[in-house]
Amino acid sequence: MNFTGKVREQLVRALPPEELLPDEQPAYVHSYVYLFGILTLASFVMLILSGIVLALFGPQWWHISATGHFFNSVHFWSVQAFFFFMVLHLWAQFFMGAWRDGRGLTWVSGAITFVVSIATAFTGYLSQQNFDAQWIAVQGKDAMNAIGIGAFFNLLNFGQMYSFHIFLLPLLVAMLITLHVLQVRWRGVVKPYPLPDEEQGVMEARAKSVGVEPPAEEGES
């Protein structure tokens, strides 16, 4: 078998279509807590769509025209929602120990996405083309110089910050999110922490009384 065939077989084995796009989830996923990840992703889609419109027309348009103001606001509120839900997603995954059972790299890719998103948002602040942006750039350049990257990452250079913001960093965030979602699909959603024996018994009795299967023990798949 040639290289392409081997890669295809490995991909299909690692991520069969029913795992890649599942139409059912484990019983414990029936909670609003599990929605924060997809809400973060939805906010990211809104960010990209509103960002494409802003990039098409440019800073003069988004400062002067009413429609430009509207799309600027959509972009702004999308980023508020993006970080709002991403932090809630982080809290939820932290308290459910989502790195367990071989999911360490999923946790790490999420953490890296968070850090890169902060850099992306920061270059967005610098790309506003207003007094806020100038103030943040003048203050922030000292931090960049202090950590030794000021020569490569010049906050006062609008062109550089703008290209970082509308191309390089969003591309990196999109790739990281794709990797993160694929990792989640590959490993599945982490099981809840096992209950103490007494509570497990109560849960099983309660589940039996309403005619559903009790929650599975840790380690089953």
């Binding site: 909670s31 609003y32 709002f84 939820a92 309403v210 005619g211 559903v212 299967e213 599975a216």
Partner: protein, 50 residues
């Protein structure tokens, strides 16, 4: 209102703007609601957890 400097609250060593405090409060509230509100179910599966 949004074009003015934010109101800052100062307790001991903590200094935080009112908008940031409101956002953090909203996040805590949404997190608690997500934990306690019952999630709607379309049907109850009899065939195990999947």
């Amino acid at each position: 209102m949004l074009n003015h400097p934010a109101l800052y609250l100062h307790f001991w060593i903590i200094l935080i703007s009112l908008p940031n405090l409101i956002v953090i409060g909203l996040m805590v509230l949404v997190f608690i609601l997500a934990l306690i509100l019952p999630f709607p179910r379309k049907h109850v599966s009899q065939g195990g957890e999947r």
